[in-house]
Amino acid sequence: MPSCPKTPDNFDAMIVNQTATLRAGTFATLPYQPAIIIFGLVSGAVMAEAGLTLFETLAMTVIVLGGASQLAAVQMLTEQTSVAVIVATCICINLRFGMYSAALAPWFSGMPARTRLFAAYVVHDQSFGVALARFQSREEDWRARMVFFLAAGGITALVWQLTTGIGHALGARIPDALPLDFAMPMIFIAMVVPFLKGRPKWLAAIVASGAALALRDLPLDLGLLAATGLGIAAGYWAEARA
């Protein structure tokens, strides 16, 4: 007979721990936030320039929650591209979230279905990078991982959504000087560093980068998926051979 789960004896200690984990998840993303803020402001300004209202901008940011795909969609909308092509192209841009979903899934073993519905919404580049690095470096149960992931993913999503709205309001007043478009690549470099351990990982990273450069002209952003596949194959092969 299914029974109501008992309150664990160490319930208070668990709450304290979850608060610490919540804080850890939030703090882990803090160094990335300046770049997210800049990206949000610029994206909001671009969306305002394209003629979207503040409500439309926020609606898109909340519903889609994928900066690169949103900017591509807005660009193509202003060019009167057909809806089917826009959606197909942007889905391809966001297919990487499927790889994040797969890579995170084994760490969430035990997590109930309803919780997964919430966690799925905040599967994005930063939550993936920060959380997976944490999961690989310490033993925790799915509850702690969930708290960390929701905190890291939620705060980043919120900052991006708010700054997109602010960027829309500020519009053209945002200076486009400084190498600001370089901040985004930098945070990806910072995110990948903890994972670069051992030769197979390095080989995979080098092959994926080279392939992404060679295949960057493939339509529908498929170069990214192909490059990732080649990198994974190279790394796996190197590991199996070692």
Binding site: M60, L77, P106, G129, P179, V193, P200
Partner: protein, 110 residues
């Protein structure tokens, strides 16, 4: 001018599809487990997706199709080196942007 119905169709369709993509394997793995081989393959996801995402952005700056920017490549390598050395996110970002500004000011007259 953006066509309003088109905007909302794109936003809702893309939002639904993107959420489904995010949920995909989280939902799939609810009642199933990954084989050890698949887990080993998945271990390579971060070291392949993240570099593949940014390599073209670094090497070919926005707006240019074929013009390679050596200053950006140099700055990215500096940032990577600083990251491996310090393991510090802020150090990576600041050293990368600093190196780019320095490289630009040195390379500009050439």
């Amino acid at each position: 001018m953006i066509d309003r119905p088109a905007f909302w169709i794109v936003t809702i369709a893309l939002g639904a599809a993107t959420y489904a993509i995010r949920l995909s394997f989280l939902a799939w793995s609810q009642s199933r487990t990954f084989s050890p081989r698949v887990k080993r393959l998945l271990d390579f996801v971060p070291v392949t997706v993240l570099p593949a995402l940014i390599a073209p952005v670094i090497v070919f700056p926005a707006g240019s199709v074929d013009a390679v920017d050596p200053a950006r490549i140099l700055a990215a390598l500096v940032a990577l080196g600083v990251g491996l050395w310090t393991k510090n996110v802020i150090a990576v970002i600041l050293s990368g942007i600093g190196a780019l500004m320095l490289a630009n000011s040195v390379l500009m007259p050439l």
